[in-house]
Amino acid sequence: MHRFANPAEFNRLADRILPWAIAVMAISLVAGLYLALIGSPPDYQQGESVRIMYIHVPAAWMAMFTYMVMAGASFVAIVWRHPLAELAGKAAAPIGATFTALALITGSLWGKPMWGTYWQWDGRMTSVLVLFFLYLGYMAIWHGFDDEEKAGRAAAILALVGVANIPIIKFSVDWWNTLHQPASVFRMGGPTIADSMLWPLFIMATAFQAYFVVVFLWRMKLEINQRKLSVMNRAEVYG
């Protein structure tokens, strides 16, 4: 933990991870897209429209995963006052917001032909929309305060309170009746997706995960340098 306290150390680590993450992303993206669009069968009920699943589901998983990264970083920031942890939350937020928006948009584009509607206020869709607003709120707090220390603290508290939404998203389809179907992959009794569709899904999920690592590390470096700039400028003014 303390080793990463040092931004220079973190930068070195990031530079070592980045080429590997980019390679994993490129390979799994090419393989995943081929399988998703060409190498996988249509669905027995949904036909070719099922191909939207291969981006909708990874985007939704990553929307929740990124939130847990942001909340975990916020927890470390509040408890151990770790400056890099605060920046990690700030770096993750726009990525999570993008994944969430994509989950909502692709879901809506899938819902229209299959369900017959772009949107319904059911438990799953509403709770994912709340997740999107949590990301926006978190980013707005960072922008809204002049004092970075106060901004970081307030944003971290929002991120932690919002953790309540994650189990609500996951179990919304079990707790309430919804238009959205129940879980197909992470469920008791194993997945209900044929293997010829499950593998492409996992490979696309790997690509999304690697994409997160790459962009997250780039944004971490950005945030570290930005913090350096503001410290140097402050030194110029007061020093």
Binding site: P42, D43, Y44, Q45, Q46, P113, M114, G116, T117, P182
Partner: protein, 165 residues
């Protein structure tokens, strides 16, 4: 937070903060989920299943959403050729539905639907919109889904367990 006392070490203060923040987090998250349940309750359900419609004795003319499975063998066109007739069931209670309009691509017997409309005096649900649900199964055409029997659908099961009627 109160200013830390000088006598306390940095480690003790950090441990204290860990305990306080963890406890606060668990309490707040628990509270939010409980409040969602308590205040949200029924209104968070998108639709009523046939058993619930019967249980609540929803009056004729009241607008609500009815959801369940399209009973196998129940779907047919009315004599005008434009009105569809089918039965929505949760494997415990059946409600006949009448609908004039476009059905979504996924609409079929044995699959879930969510319809919005009103019950008429004869106990027929006159739907204004029909949305199709799909279940958790994904499989290539011509192969058997892993969790397939119409009435083994999790919702149908939960209705059976709750109502037993």
């Amino acid at each position: 937070m109160a200013a830390p006392k000088k006598s306390k070490g940095l480690k003790t203060r950090k441990r204290q903060r860990l305990v306080i923040v963890s406890a606060a987090l668990i309490a707040i998250v628990g509270a939010i989920i409980l409040i969602t349940f308590a205040l949200g309750g029924d209104s968070l359900n998108l639709y009523l299943q046939p058993s619930a419609v019967m249980e609540k004795q929803v009056p004729a003319g009241k607008r609500f959403r009815l959801g369940g499975l399209v009973a196998t063998g129940s779907f047919h066109r009315d004599t005008d050729g434009l009105t569809y007739l089918f039965t929505v069931t949760d494997c415990a209670v059946d409600i006949p539905v009448k609908f004039k309009g476009l059905l979504p691509d996924l609409f079929r017997e044995g699959q879930g639907v969510v319809t919005e409309g009103r019950l008429n005096k004869q106990g027929v649900f006159v739907a204004e919109t029909v949305l199709a649900k799909h279940d958790e199964n994904y499989t290539p055409p011509g192969t058997a889904p892993k969790n397939a029997e119409a009435c083994s659908h999790p919702e149908a099961l939960s209705a059976l367990k709750k109502g037993g009627r």
